[in-house]
């Protein structure tokens, strides 16, 4: 039954429509803020929370988040020769060292994912990278079994002792070292996203070198942020697309960094147990989950674990969405876990 209020309700409905088109319609522009940190380029793509904001207003709004990333970088990045991480690495084999809170936190997260992935995630693989010539272009030949065995003595989070009470860390074997390239960017994005929310930003997506991404609310009138997945063999080719909203997405891909020895390519992701570059046909691993720290750590881990172990892991931790790409006979096979293949 239509009552007398009907025209008024219709008017209110149109008013709401008009208002939403003003707020989220053609006039709404995203703004991208880029800066360098952790050896890569970070970008925040945001929809300004209020109208009329200009460059410096955006910068001021985002500055606390940028500062948080730089602060974290200063303590956990291996690019600094004299930071807490450098001092910890230099003290390997010399006893426990009291470390900064940021460094302590990333070590704790690393321990957690090392345990959950049964050692697939391991930030101590540095000696293997050295041995194979990834960190320094200092050798052309493949390492011998003996050399690998010797390097493996310095690998393993079980050799890292953490004292929660004193906030101390000990690398128990001389020559050990930690490198948080597989988790630091995720932790940085988690922190930045939290700060941006506190700053009143609702709709945003943040990425670190495109490998780690965290999304807040979607763009106006959308259900999520559309994230493409690059072909591991061709940066300009997109092989899949997912939509994320208040989630994180990380991708590990073997093709971006590799060495070529005797006509064979060796990727930079290592199996910490064998000391060999991962060679299980996985060429790209994407993880979508709530936290960028987690997606960052697990995308590398699943690369190491391969398809079967990844499936088991996902049965145990059901909040995960995973997209694995493997290669056989020059053909890419795609595996979707808790994800749907996009429509072409």
């Amino acid at each position: 039954m239509l009552d007398k209020r009907c025209p008024f309700i219709i008017f209110k409905f149109f008013l709401l429509l008009c208002l939403s088109s003003v707020l989220y319609g053609e006039a709404t522009k995203s703004v991208t803020l880029r800066f360098s940190s952790m050896g890569t380029e970070f970008a925040f793509i945001i929809y300004p929370p209020t109208d009329g904001m200009l460059e410096e207003d955006i910068r001021n709004l985002c500055e606390p988040a940028i500062e948080a990333i730089h602060r974290l970088e200063k303590h956990i990045s291996h690019y600094f020769p004299d930071n807490d991480l450098a001092r910890l690495n230099q003290s390997a084999g010399l006893g426990a060292v009291k470390v900064n809170g940021d460094l302590f936190e990333v070590i704790r997260w690393s321990k957690l994912y090392w345990e959950q992935t049964d050692g697939a995630f391991d930030p101590t693989v540095g000696p293997l990278l050295d041995l194979w010539g990834f960190s320094q272009k200092n050798r052309d030949a493949l390492p011998s079994k003996e050399e690998i065995a010797e390097a493996l003595k310095k690998v393993g989070m079980d050799k890292v002792k953490v004292n929660e009470e004193n906030q101390t860390v000990e690398l128990t074997v001389p020559g050990m070292r930690l490198n948080f390239g597989g988790i630091g960017k995720g932790l940085a994005l988690d922190r930045a996203a939290r700060i941006l929310k506190e700053q009143g930003i609702k709709s945003a997506v943040l990425h670190a070198g495109t490998s780690s991404i965290i999304a807040l609310d979607p763009p106006p009138n959308q259900t999520g942020w559309k994230i493409g997945i690059r072909s591991p063999y061709n940066k300009s080719e997109q092989i899949e697309e997912f939509e994320i909203c208040n989630e994180s997405l990380s991708t590990s891909s073997v093709s971006e960094q590799y060495l070529e020895r005797n006509g064979k390519k060796y990727g930079h992701i290592f199996n910490p147990k064998t000391g060999l570059p991962v060679d299980n046909n996985i060429v790209s691993s994407t993880v979508i989950t709530k936290s960028a720290t987690e997606s960052d750590a697990l995308s590398t881990s699943f690369f190491v674990m391969g398809i079967d172990k990844t499936k088991k892991y996902c049965n145990k931790f059901q909040n995960l969405k995973v997209f694995l790409v493997s290669e056989s006979n020059n053909k890419l096979d795609k595996l979707y876990i808790n994800l749907k293949q996009s429509e072409d």
Partner: protein, 485 residues
């Protein structure tokens, strides 16, 4: 006697040696393509002899037909170098002439030497003079040369007093000649390219500040031959050999670091901003080299330039913050130049850092770099709903930092196959022959003189000195002080 360096005499020698033809050519455009400009060099000391063996040697349109120096050994050296220069022989440092070069030099025109520049002006048929003498001598030499109908190259700083520099501008207007001043950076391709990047491309955005310095660590003295006995000719002009040779160190002949070093760089700033400073603050002292010198061995200056849309160095900006007044931000603004020159530490060397809101140029005679601003870059998306539905990021392996090279400074690449000294004298000859206006013309010389001497006044009187635009304003047309090429 009217010149053994007459046109006829020179043609005979030069034609035999090089096959070139020389004509009188006193007015622009009356020179044939292969004619040479006859130059008399006044002052053959450090800078004068450098010009002879480098800049003038490299300018194939120039022949040195006379040299003048009140100090006999310098005059003799000047004649030798000029003959080598006339033969087109580039002297390599520390190396003598080969026999072939020696023969070629002997066949080249040998200029006559003079102690008295007025005698040289009276006796020689010259198109132009090159003056590289102590600062306090510039004025009379330039004025007499202009009166004699010569084009003039004068070492910087143009004058010891501002009024002298104004007289020279007036004399140029009266005679129709001009003065090119030795602000050689104006002929440096690097500085020209950077200027074009700043003005035309906005590479560094709005220039907001400039840091420049010339820091060296030596006593700035020239050695004296204490055994040298002045002959009667020398004694007419030289009373004290130490003061004559080390003229840069004494107030009667120089304004020290201001006129001999700072003026180069302050001129560059004025060029980039296309403006004169409105005021200058300065302090200076003589603390380290207490060896009888009188000029400062340490100076610090602040110049303030008021920039308006009439200045080519002006650049409008977009509002960056909603707090900014969108009209006021593009009203006239002020740019400060912070300058220092010291003589007992060379760590910072000699360069100019021209700082804009989007990047900076670091320029020196050794090379230049562009540094983009390292702050976060903000870019706006298109106002389109399509944007909101597009793929925003494609994820893959971590992309490596692409702007590392920029953070370390991107070299500004220019053709530097010729020395800047050669370029300034090639242009000197070209402007004489073609009726051009020097880039470092007498107005540039006047303005640099004003900037140096008002700073000297600020230091001496320990106060801020206002620079009155009337000092560089005339009631007749004057050359553009901001010519670029």
């Amino acid at each position: 006697m009217k010149s053994n360096v007459s046109r006829r005499n020179f043609i005979k020698t030069a034609s035999a040696a090089t096959g070139l033809v020389v004509m009188a050519g006193r007015a622009p455009f009356s020179y044939a393509q292969n004619e040479k400009i006859r130059v008399g060099c006044i002052g053959c000391g450090g800078q004068g002899s450098f010009h002879i063996k480098d800049g003038l040697m490299g300018a194939s349109d120039i022949v040195i037909t006379a040299v003048c120096d009140a100090y006999g050994p310098h005059q003799k050296l000047g004649i030798q170098l000029a003959q080598i220069s006339n033969a087109g022989i580039a002297l390599e440092p520390g190396q003598g002439l080969t026999e072939e070069q020696r023969q070629k030099a002997l066949a080249a025109f040998k200029p006559k030497g003079y102690y008295d520049y007025q005698e040289m002006l009276a006796k020689e048929e010259l198109d132009a003079v090159v003056i590289a003498t102590p600062l306090n001598m510039h004025y009379s030499m330039v004025m007499d040369s202009l009166s004699a109908g010569k084009y003039v190259f004068c070492e910087k700083t143009m004058c010891y007093e501002i009024e002298q520099a104004r007289d020279i501008v007036k004399k140029c207007h009266e005679t129709g000649k001009w003065v090119q001043v030795g602000h050689q950076r104006r002929y440096n391709p690097l500085y020209n390219k950077a200027l074009m990047m700043a003005w035309n491309e906005g590479t560094i955005g709005r220039i907001v500040h400039i840091d420049a310095q010339w820091h060296r660590n030596n006593d700035w003295r020239r050695p004296i031959n204490k055994d040298h006995k002045l002959n009667s000719q020398e004694a007419r002009f030289i009373k004290d050999l130490e003061r004559h040779m080390n003229w840069r160190l004494y107030k009667e002949s120089s304004r020290g670091l201001l006129t001999e070093l700072a003026t180069h760089q302050v001129d560059i700033v004025s060029w980039f901003l296309d403006a004169m400073p409105r005021r200058v603050y300065g302090c200076g002292s003589l603390d380290y080299w207490r060896d009888g010198r009188e000029i400062h061995d340490s100076i610090n200056l602040i110049y303030e330039f008021d920039i308006t849309p009439e200045n080519r160095g002006y650049r409008a900006i977009n509002a960056r913050s909603s707090n900014q007044d969108k009209i006021a931000i593009n009203q006239p603004y002020t740019v400060q130049l912070a300058y220092s020159s010291i003589t007992a530490n060379a760590k910072k060397g000699c360069n100019e850092l021209i700082e804009g809101d989007e990047g900076a140029f670091e320029l020196s005679e050794e090379g230049g770099f562009f540094y983009p601003e390292a702050t976060s870059q903000v870019s706006w998306g298109e106002s389109s709903s399509a944007e909101q539905t597009a793929t925003v990021i494609t994820s893959g392996g971590t992309l490596k930092l692409s702007n590392k090279a920029l953070q370390e400074g991107k070299p500004i690449v220019v053709d530097n196959t010729r020395s800047v000294d050669q370029l300034q004298f090639i242009r000197f000859a070209k402007d004489i022959k073609e009726g051009g206006t020097p880039k470092a013309n007498q107005m540039v010389g006047l303005r640099a003189t004003i900037m140096a001497l008002t700073a000297f006044q600020a230091i001496e009187e320990r106060r801020m000195v206002e620079i009155d635009p009337a000092l560089y304003t005339f009631d007749f047309p004057t050359p553009d002080p901001s010519v670029v090429s």
